[in-house]
Symmetry: C2
């Protein structure tokens, strides 16, 4: 048996074609070309690459992007000012503040300053609260992309035991909430979990979201599990060690080409959705 | 061995004395007498009793209460109007909307209409989102009261496996978030969980929050667990069957006299906190 590959790259490409058509339809209706504003603070090369990938994806689906690149020394007040301007800009239908920001900035305050109707990356506490309670809100992009991927491949979630390793505000916590909303039984593990191997061993659905290379070992994972790796580290390594997994799990995401493209796709998809609502 | 009894009634009484002193201090400082507004819609006897218990607790700590009793036929718009008035009332420092409201009312819209600084019962999605992300916010009263009880008795939480059975917006979900913030490994079970007995069997800390009499069986629970029962049903029955537990678990909450008094205490405590911030 060979595991089903959850091909995020292919799904994202296919969905981009639909999004392109949706954007064209907006223009035909006489609407303005929808724009995503991206904010990059500082010059971290990985962050710059992520922002560029998102800008490129905007272009591919026919959307504008408004790039705001700010210096490393930016203050919270300065960033809040920029966010306020973008909130007020009628041409901007979505705002992405690339995580992480430099340490002198209050990231939470800046995330939460994004207007809820423009929070297409799903980073506000208000959006998280609404989503967690099953109300209408844009989901955090990475877990939202993972859910789209799981649903596309008809992975059963209801009644399954999902184990999320990681509890970050934009990944582990919203991932757990989305899986719970999909009627999975959900366990959240993290750095203080004392029996990680045992917890992982019980997962029907495993999501690695810790940001540490191969912290989760292949031998912990049970046969037949669905393995989702949200990590990406230099050399194409994820948060989950893959040795031998392809022969014995039910499904798994490749790294790269699994969760990454779906993250960008969720962001773009939610931006188009926001444009459609205007 | 006999289980430690987590005596919520005694703790609430002791904390009420401190709260009384805190309210007196506010008055001495020339402040207005803090007031909690309670809103009861309809005439459900249990709900009426809960509201009366909260009003009584206000009185015991020297706070005012403003009772708003509305008819069963109240509309969402009418209730939103009342909440808006209480939001604007400078004498009101906390608002309790007794759950549940009649079915024609959009409870979520009404909860979320409560101003965040008066959401002392912790029912807004904004407050939930903030709390879940470790930001300053009033917690949902029942889980907040449970956390106070666990901390008072020095129950270790970090690295322990907590299993929450139930996922309601004001109980199961915020309970899971609070236990996660306290560095427990957290599993959330619910009506679609297929292996509830197995999940419960692994709990170091078990919270019953399903609202069904003795749905959780004593025989599922492992020796040495900490058992918290947030259920209350006629005849002093909780969500957890207690047969033989007292002889083999580490600690447990009585029903009644465990979680119930702590729920009211959390509400009152957060109302005093709100008064202190004004």
């Amino acid at each position: 048996m060979s595991a089903l590959v959850l091909d995020g790259k292919a799904l994202a490409e296919s969905r981009e074609q639909q999004l392109h058509a949706a954007v064209e339809a907006l223009l035909t209706d006489g609407g303005r070309k929808p724009a995503l504003a991206t904010i990059l603070v500082g010059s971290d090369p990985a962050s710059a690459t992520y922002v560029q990938m998102k800008v490129n994806a905007c272009g591919r689906v026919g959307m504008e992007s408004v790039r705001v690149d700010l210096p490393q020394s930016t203050t919270t007040e300065e960033l809040l000012e920029v966010i306020g301007q973008l909130n007020d800009d009628p041409d901007v239908c979505g705002i992405l503040l690339q995580h992480p920001v430099p340490p002198q900035i209050d990231e939470r305050a800046c995330f939460d300053a994004i207007a809820i109707d423009k929070d297409v990356d799903g980073v506000t506490t208000q959006g998280y609260g609404l989503m967690a309670m099953g109300e209408d809100a844009y989901g955090s992009a990475t877990p939202a992309g993972i859910m789209t991927l799981l649903r596309y491949y008809d992975i059963p979630l209801e009644g399954k035991h999902a184990v999320v390793v990681g509890r970050s505000p934009i990944l582990g916590k919203p991932m757990a909430a989305m899986l719970l909303n999909a009627n999975a039984t959900v366990t959240v593990c993290h750095s203080r979990t004392t029996d990680l191997a045992d917890q992982v061993a019980r997962a029907d659905i495993l999501v690695g979201a810790v940001g540490q290379p191969e912290l989760i070992k292949a031998e912990w994972i049970k046969d037949g599990a669905v393995v989702v790796d949200a990590g990406y580290h230099p050399g194409g390594i994820g948060d989950i060690e893959k040795t031998g997994l392809a022969e014995r799990v039910a499904a798994l995401t490749p790294v790269p080409g699994g969760v990454g493209p779906m993250t960008i796709n969720a962001l773009i998809s939610q931006t188009v959705e926001s444009a459609q609502k205007r």
